[in-house]
Symmetry: C2
Subunit: 324 residues, 2 copies
């Protein structure tokens, strides 16, 4: 598989988690769940919660700064910052402008937000990569960042024990360690209200402004659509399931990962990546956080990693990342 020398891909990944957290023990007690339900079915041992005055841009900036700390001068070479979020600091301006200010960057930076949920990282990689190639940009950051804790009802058992606040900053460049091959993208807007935050809509009475999730509908969507999408992604890339070294699915829940493994006949071995135990469902950051673990532990082996994101919208996307 020949690569264009000038192709943009993923060079490095950093992430940031807030200091506050709750343990599976806390959650079991608060909601009257058994510890095994929290730790095994949901799959969570810890969820992270942003501080009272800690916003999405704060998490985003901490993740981005880790790249700048590692390589002095990089901050002057960034040409694009795309922030994928649905819990922005403000309704407007875009959170990427606030990140731009807090990082103290120069004027020649293209900043915009991407409005997507759990499929956002996969979409975002294609959006930022193609934008950088078209506009001859050397370095770019795709930042996935959410503070769902601020829009979750603390008493809501379908969402509170699941979601974590987090940000990941993915550095894209022409010296990539991972290059994306062909992508699949899909949407089923008829499920738009399966995962919804109605605030902002003037037709909705106030008080209904917490995150609502219809877990069964989301489950049925993932179980039926995602395995087919994964097969399609393999097909358009001329690969078989057995060619893939690691499957990095969005970490929706342990139960969902088990379902995908079963439907796709992926043995529950180390090829099926799980990180939800340590991080909770970090929305669009779950895939880059898992990828970082792979990158940090990879030696010189050639790797093929299939990534697949799915959720709010309903929306899904997959691609295969190949080591350079």
């Amino acid at each position: 598989m020949g690569h264009d020398k000038h192709e943009v891909g993923i060079e490095d990944i950093e992430y940031f988690l807030p200091e506050r957290f709750m343990t599976s023990g806390d959650l079991a007690k608060d909601f009257g769940f058994s510890l095994s339900f929290i730790e095994e079915k949901i799959g969570v041992k810890k969820i992270y919660i942003a501080g009272e005055n800690e916003t999405t841009s704060d998490l985003a900036v901490e993740a981005a700064r880790k790249h700048f700390d590692k390589r002095p001068g990089l901050e002057n070479r960034i040409g694009i910052i795309a922030v994928c979020t649905q819990t922005p600091d403000f309704q407007l301006p875009h959170t990427s402008a606030i990140v731009h200010k807090k990082l103290g960057l120069g004027a020649d930076v293209a900043c915009f937000d991407i409005g997507l949920g759990c499929s956002g990282f996969v979409y975002g990689i294609s959006i930022v990569k193609s934008f950088m190639e078209a506009n001859d940009i050397e370095y770019g950051l795709l930042i996935t960042a959410e503070t769902y804790s601020k829009v979750i009802d603390d008493n809501e058992k379908s969402t509170k024990p699941l979601f974590s606040d987090a940000a990941a900053a993915t550095l894209l460049s022409r010296q990539p360690r991972l290059i994306p091959r062909n992508f699949t993208f899909g949407t089923d807007g008829s499920g738009y209200d399966s995962l919804i935050l109605r605030s902002g809509n003037p037709a909705i009475p106030s008080g209904e402004n917490h995150l609502f999730m219809d877990g069964r509908r989301i489950y049925n969507f993932v179980a039926s659509v995602v395995p087919e999408d994964v097969k399609k992604c393999l097909n358009i890339n001329g690969m078989e399931l057995s060619d893939i070294d690691s499957f990095v699915f969005h970490q929706a829940s342990n139960f969902m990962l088990d379902t995908l493994a079963k439907k796709l006949s992926i043995p529950n071995d180390k090829r099926l990546v799980r990180n939800i135990e340590h991080f909770g469902n970090t929305v669009s950051s779950s895939i880059p956080i898992a990828l970082k673990t792979i990158l940090d532990s990879a030696n010189d082996t050639q790797l093929k990693i299939l990534i697949s994101g799915f959720g709010v919208g309903l929306s899904w996307a997959s691609t295969i990342l190949v080591t350079e």
Copy 2:
């Protein structure tokens, strides 16, 4: 200037305005302004206001349907819908998923929202064009859509007499009538609070949830940054000011357009496009609405159109559109 036969550009533009409106007479009376201040300095004779239950996706869908009505079958060939908005129907899901549902499209459509204000059309053209080229997508819609009326305080004289609700749907394809040349993009996050809607931020007490605009700061930004950006855009495209047939600036206000014309020494002739009189400031739709007028009246003449968007963020972007 040779064009790649497979390059994506703008094929067609449609827009939609809600039925409700206010006239300059109404606005003059309500705010105690003179008619000449409204009509000449702001430059507005009419502003459009979405119906009480009419949301951003409703306007977006009406604009998109005009394309489908003109060419049966197009709806089955759309591969991407990007909605640029900062007044989404809901905080999540993305408004593009709701547009997808209302248009009844199939599953193989990439849908995402772009979070940007008045610079959004120019950014969006580059985002959608490069995404389509990278992912081999035949037809795409960039929809710019806002319902600022829902977040504006009806008694606020700095915003109410200026902004209109509107949507524009720009069809991109490989049979383009206008092809974008090189782009400039810029951000100054230090001005993030010059135009801001604080709702959504938990650190902000409720009650401060209307659109705030610091008109003087916005004016100073536009007067200093945009003329330099226009010159840079000409420069990176190897053109002179005199090469440009039409200047389509974001229709911020008549006063702003006068300032730009003066700073750039563009004679106030028909080359400087003004449509604010008929539409108000329609945020990210002002440029495509003006472009439609040019496309509809153009004969076979070769045209070079410089477009420049600027506003909330602070954010700006420019490019030159060349007839195919």
